[in-house]
């Protein structure tokens, strides 16, 4: 099966390879779950309607969180042995509380919810707390499976995850420089597939895809960086590229920043896993902004224009927009802000970039 199909289908199979455990974000340590003998899979169901969630969850929640909640309290959720939810956004903590509440009141059955209390502010206290909570998560996973997680299993899982990260970075190389070969709409699917499958299999399929991409000729058109709400669909890059531009990067955990650096294999494996997710994983709660903005500032200097994407449901990243807009303005980097992927302004913006 191709990576694009895996990304599109987002299927959850109860196949061999251990119990399936859902995760809700990039900041749940895949490697630790894998070492526990579990099969982690990202929950990001595509649902036009969320009738079950609508009974309990307000419209203040994002469509993605509502869809996850709807999935988990439906019969589909029964395929999961548990769901691990990180404290990576306020909505995710509330998702955790809502799951517990519908179960407590007997309103629905849910997979066992596990909160991973990873914090994202950079402080000695938050770092120490996060490491403790990573030890706590390990214990909870051991209770779930009924067997201890061995150091060798941790090292093997880290190696498996790192191989996938290396494969993603190789794909990202095809988007770098002045002559990219990989469109953003395609890249999102090729990269995003890694959240829905075993990572050893992912690395193999990504390498196959890479070999084909390397034979392509360079793409032409203004190179665009997207900044804003995480893109769990290729609709926006596809809309931008339909006007002749090439999306070469996204500042979110679905695209360019999904893999990041490898997990350090020279230190205690659990500490190394924690440090990966604390120091090198995008989250809306990373603080201070000079740290959360650093990647954007670096990447913005490599592109022809930036498109900010702040959909109607955004109530967080809009606070960052004026600061980042001013940064670009000071450096004469063109930008556009859109509230929907069908904005009429996209074509005109690309046209302006084409003509300098």
């Amino acid at each position: 099966m191709s990576l694009t199909r895996i990304y599109t289908e987002r299927a959850i199979h109860s196949r061999n390879g251990g119990p399936v455990v859902g995760v809700t974000s990039n900041t749940v340590p895949w490697d630790l779950l894998r070492a526990a003998g579990l099969r982690p899979v990202l929950l990001s169901p595509r649902r036009k309607e969320t009738p079950l969630a609508d009974r309990y969850m307000e419209d203040a929640f994002s469509g993605r969180i509502k869809a996850i909640f709807d999935f988990l309290i439906s019969s589909e959720g029964e395929r999961l042995a548990a769901v691990v939810i990180p404290r990576t956004s306020e909505q995710e903590h509330k998702l955790y509380l809502y799951l517990r509440e519908v179960a407590r009141q007997g309103l629905a059955q849910t997979p066992k919810p596990i909160l991973y209390n990873l914090l994202h502010a950079r402080s000695p206290e938050a770092e120490a707390y996060g490491l403790d909570r990573t030890h706590d998560l390990k214990q909870q996973l051991e209770q779930l499976t009924g067997r201890p997680i061995q150091p060798d299993a941790l090292r093997e899982a880290i190696a498996e995850g790192n191989a996938a990260r290396q494969a993603i970075r190789a794909l990202l190389q095809q988007r770098a420089g002045i002559a990219p070969r990989l469109r953003g709409s395609e890249a999102l699917a090729l990269i995003g597939a890694w959240y829905f499958m075993d990572r050893s299999e992912y690395a193999l399929l990504a390498q196959q895809a890479l070999r084909e991409i390397e034979t392509r000729t360079a793409l032409e058109g203004p190179r665009i960086l997207i900044k804003g709400s995480p893109l769990d669909s290729p609709a926006l890059p596809a809309a931008i590229e339909s006007h002749g531009a090439v999306v070469v990067a996204e500042d979110d955990w679905w695209g360019s920043r999904s893999a990041g650096r490898d997990i350090d294999t020279t230190m205690d494996p659990l500490r190394a896993i924690f440090e990966k997710y604390y120091f090198d994983a995008p989250s809306p709660r990373v603080f201070p902004s000079e740290i959360s903005d650093a990647w954007f500032y670096s990447k913005a200097s490599e592109v022809d224009g930036v498109i900010f994407y702040l959909p109607q449901e955004d109530d967080v990243l809009g606070w960052d927009y004026p600061r980042l807009r001013d940064y670009l303005g000071d450096r004469a980097i063109p930008y556009l802000m859109v509230r929907s992927d069908s904005s009429d302004e996209i074509g005109a913006f690309i046209e302006r970039l084409r003509h300098g």
């Binding site: 309990y56 307000e58 955790y96 509380l97 509440e101 707390y129 909570r133 809306p284 955004d314 809009g318």
Partner: protein
Amino acid sequence: MAEKQLECTVRAAAYQKAWFAQLRQDVFEKQKPYAIVQADMPLELFHTMDVPVVSNQWWAAMVAAKRLAPHYLDGLNAQGYHEGLCRYCSLSLASTIAEDPAQAPWGGLPKPALFSARLTCDCIQRVFEIWAAKLGSPFIPLDAPGSSELPPRWWELSRYRWNELFESHRLDFMVAQFHSLIARLEQITGSTFDPARLRTLMEGVNQQEEYFEEVREMICKAPKTPVRMHEQVSNVMAAQWLRGSEWAIAHARAFRDEVKNRVDAGLAACPAEKLRLMWVGAGLWHDTDFYTAFEKQYGAVFVWSMYLAFGPDGYIRYGLDDPLRALASRTVSFNEQLHNPPWANEWIVDQAKRHRIDAALVLEPLGTRPSATGNLFIERALQAAGIPVLPIVADMVDARGWNGSEMREKVGQFLTGLSSSAARDRA
């Protein structure tokens, strides 16, 4: 503006105005430090260090009451902050960005020595970072781990068994952050933190909240409520922002005494009281007359809001051998207690029963989305307890889009329906 029935209410407003004038004078003339903080911060640490605090939410309510919110929020939007962003927690920032002290309430906010906030919803760190940069003051955040153990009837444990109610690792973490905050306050003030002074202050807070509890009990038990909801709020919050201080304790006692006198004299806030209403959510600060608008025609009186009721249950802590840890237990879960299941829904239903509530109006603040969570569980729980619910879609500070007469009509229809069904039940 509705009449003030209690002398205490007038005195509370006058004191707050004088307090703020003194703060401005101290800052401008004596260069004394003060802090701007989120409402759910451990204000007690600042008070112990003699650093006055202005709460973000108090100032936002002031701005809204002066009808300045639309002007300030329009200005914020004009700078590129879109209209879907939280308004309650950013209105004070908007008032700073506007840079018009002549128009601002009481001359406006001077530059603080520091900003501080708990990182609850994801926008707070952003609002405070922008605000701190705007005024050139440091921002000290307290991160906020999520709770994972939530015994439903938390208020039965919070006074004596707080050490087991809130998870140990969360309390340890909060205390560790307190030490960093204290170090910063020591740096700013040049003073040394005194745990004994904090303990004394915490004992004062207990005393203050016990007075509020007496008022709450009188409201529960009196045939008709002796004090309107919005006067409860004025008196309680004036003291809560200064909690544990001599003035706050004395004011709480005076409030208790005045309410008791009214009960003893058989005085009701609304002698024609027929329906007892509950307001769930933050106050409707831009239209507080809304809370008395249904008395004359419907005999419907707002008797409950979280502001008085939460004081005793949320603040009292007995066993102050380790005052920092006790304070941490007061600080770590405000959000869960007031807005999240199971704590918010269980507590509000219990309160509704104790206050003999006939119907609840639940604020659904679409302009302040993080505060909108938990509402459906609350509404379901109230309805399951036999209490009709009317959701009120509005923002607590932003009057743009608020149509007061339409909303009064809508509530009137709801109350008419209640009266009809009550009549049917009686028949």
